[in-house]
Amino acid sequence: MKAFRVETGLVAPLGQANVDTDQIIPKQFLKSIKRTGFGDYLFDAWRFLDEGDIGVTPDERRLNADFVLNQPRYQGAAVLLARDNFGCGSSREHAVWALMEYGFVAVIAPSFADIFHGNCFKNGLLPIILDEATVDGLFAQVQAQEGFTLTIDLERQRIVLPDGGEIAFELVPMHRRKLLEGLDDIGLTLAEAERIRAFEAAHLARHPWLAQDLAAGA
């Protein structure tokens, strides 16, 4: 996983609440067994006027000129400004993969759905939670000012505005460290293998009915 320290990027506003992962990456793209190839289909049903499928490239499609990400002023956006409960619904991690492959490094919203929020940190996408009023303010600025960019300084947990003003944000220390160092979660846990093994032995002794081997058949 690539480390995240300081990123500066154009901001794109997505105004509706409860954006679900079915919208972020529709089901037909989940057939892939790869981790890549989803960026072209981000927000597929909103970005395009026709129905897409794996293997059909964006230049063969009819673009929905009204959709925010298709507007010329938001081309190359790297920060997505969103509303409440972003990423609700399906647990599909493909949603995070699609956002990142499209070019987003961070999503700012008043709240995120739990599974999506967790999935972000496994991949290096930074979900930033800010209070409603601050998000409202950012929406107003993005709309008022073409080329509105933000600098996200993860080390200092600050968003730096174009005028030099700063907005602080909270992050669980571990989440911050994982993104900063690009840490492999599995490696971290396996460092505790001894402890897990000891727990497992005691747990299965305490609850012997859990020691069954499914693969051995019923």
């Binding site: 105004g15 509706q16 609440a17 409860n18 679900d20 079915d22 919208q23 529709p26 089901k27 037909q28 989940l30 057939k31 892939s32 067994i33 790869k34 981790r35 049903a45 794996i54 293997g55 509303r83 409440d84 409960n85 609700c88 619904g89 399906s90 647990s91 599909r92 991690e93 709240s111 759905a113 739990d114 599974i115 967790g118 999935n119 496994k122 991949n123 669980v172 220390p173 571990m174 979660d185 599995i186 971290l188 846990t189 396996l190 505790e192 402890r195 897990i196 727990f199 747990h203 609850h207 012997p208 009915w209 859990l210 069954q212 081997d213 499914l214 693969a215 051995a216 058949g217 019923a218």
Partner: protein, 469 residues
């Protein structure tokens, strides 16, 4: 002083990782073809093996067709989907994971087969790369949906690293009236608190209406916890739980059962346990629910109307309602019973168990599909549900009435397989998500109980099922 969630958490806590996150031991890991291939590939890349092969159970469900099943994997027309199912086959073979493959009579939707096999047991921690893993909470198991990276993490470590959620109690008062089911209770709750209402919480469902539900009903209720934003849903163990589990293929037997039972009986919140949030619902006053919009919180009673965006509390909400109404092709303040339907789908991990099919068949018996219904699918949740329903004559009831009786799978719940809702068409569906395009590109989904879906199928529009009972 502990809640049920606190107790299961403590029983599985390996330790703190020193970073605000805890390591939780996972007893059962369920797998399906869509969210596991990248996890297995990641393991291979890192040269890692499975921590506890025998804790895993897999089945293909999202991509499998619901007809032409004799052809097996070769019957999957879409080559990309076929490769995904073949990849699950190969991964399970390579790692020695038990799989009910496409030919197995026990194959089905992963959340239906776990309980059916007794692979889901009270007090367990259960994960699956699927948000509706919350279903298994009906057994007082801490069951959570996870992403693909976490699937890989659990395969490699048998643990999940996470922070503990908060406790939320949903207390029901009174019993559900006739014609009103677990589905209606869940939808009414989501309508009340919103799709983010239980974010960061584990919900425990309590009270007379919950105690009165069968395990099937409790599974429906817990299944929809995720649509309220909850991390998981739980129902405490009682005689109903134990009676369901007893005798299942993977359930403990003999002295092991006795030991398990005495532990399981302790799986309830202490009377004075503290919940960070409490929600009360008057179950006795509920009416059958129907969603009108593109989020499960956009729901009302069958006796209600679509809302008027002009009357929304704020501009953001008004905009959301307006968008939903226009996607759904509905007007403001349109009576729910006026909505004309094109298709009916009875299936999904929410409502495709035997009890659901019995309830729907009970309404369908002696009636026929309304002429405007182009297709009505009944898709049992598993091969064993299908067999049982056929043995009871339910399949005949549906077929005689004009329904299509299919083979098990996710089917039109999400339309990754050939069962799709065409653009612009309205579907009465017993599934769990009415998101834009969920059942098919441009499709318009209305979430209802199996009884309401059956009533809609025979009348052609939403009908209060209580008048047909």
């Amino acid at each position: 002083m502990a809640t049920l969630y606190d107790k299961i958490w403590a029983d599985h806590l390996v330790g703190e990782r020193g970073d605000g996150q805890s390591l939780i031991y996972i007893d059962r890991h369920l797998l399906h073809e869509v969210t596991s291939p990248q996890a297995f590939a990641g393991l291979r890349l890192a040269g890692r093996d499975l921590w506890r092969r025998q804790a895993n159970l897999a089945t293909p469900d999202h991509n499998v067709p619901t007809d032409n099943r004799g052809a097996g994997v070769a019957g999957i027309e879409d080559p990309v989907a076929r490769e995904q199912v073949e990849t699950l086959d190969a991964n399970c073979r390579r790692h020695g994971v038990l799989q009910f493959d496409i030919h197995d009579a026990r194959q089905g939707i992963v959340h239906v087969i776990g309980p059916e096999q007794g692979a889901t047991l009270p007090g367990m921690t259960i994960v699956c790369g699927d948000s509706h893993t919350s279903t298994h909470g009906a057994f007082a198991a801490l069951a959570q949906g996870i992403g693909t990276s976490e699937v890989e993490h659990v395969l490699a470590t048998q643990c999940l690293a996470q922070a503990k959620a908060r406790n939320m109690a949903v207390r029901t008062r009174g019993a559900l009236p006739p014609g009103v089911y677990a589905k209606d209770l869940a939808l009414a709750l989501i309508g009340r608190i919103g799709t983010a209402g239980a974010s960061g919480h584990t919900i425990e469902y309590m009270g007379e209406a919950v105690r009165g539900l069968s395990m099937e009903g409790r599974m429906t209720l817990c299944n929809l916890s995720i649509e309220a934003g909850a991390r998981a849903g739980l129902v405490a163990v009682d005689d109903t739980t134990l009676a369901y589990v007893h005798g299942r293929p993977f359930a403990p037997k003999g002295t092991l059962w006795n030991a398990a039972e005495s532990h399981w009986r302790s799986l309830r919140s202490d009377p004075d346990a503290a919940f960070e949030q409490t929600m009360e619902i008057d179950a006795a006053a509920l009416v059958p629910q129907v969603t009108w919009g593109t989020s499960p919180e956009m729901v009302t009673g069958v006796d209600g109307c679509t809302p008027d965006p002009a009357k929304a509390a704020d501009a953001l909400k008004a905009d959301g309602w307006q968008r939903a109404l226009s996607y759904m092709g509905l007007a403001a303040e349109q009576p729910i019973t006026d909505i004309r339907l094109d298709r009916v789908f009875i299936g999904s991990c929410t409502n495709a168990r035997l009890e659901d099919l019995r309830i729907a068949a009970g309404l369908v018996a002696g009636r026929r599909l309304a002429p405007n219904i182009k297709q009505a699918l009944v898709v049992p949740g598993s091969g064993l549900v299908k067999q049982a329903a056929e043995a009871e004559g339910l399949a005949d009831v549906f077929s005689k009435a004009g329904f299509e009786w299919r083979a098990p799978g996710c089917s039109m719940c999400l339309g990754m397989n050939p069962d799709r809702l065409p653009p612009g068409e309205h579907c009465a569906s017993t599934s769990n998500r009415n998101f834009e395009g969920r059942q098919g590109y441009g499709g318009r989904t209305h979430l209802v109980s199996p009884a309401m879906a059956a009533a809609a199928a025979v009348t052609g529009h939403f009908t209060d099922v209580r008048v047909l009972l």
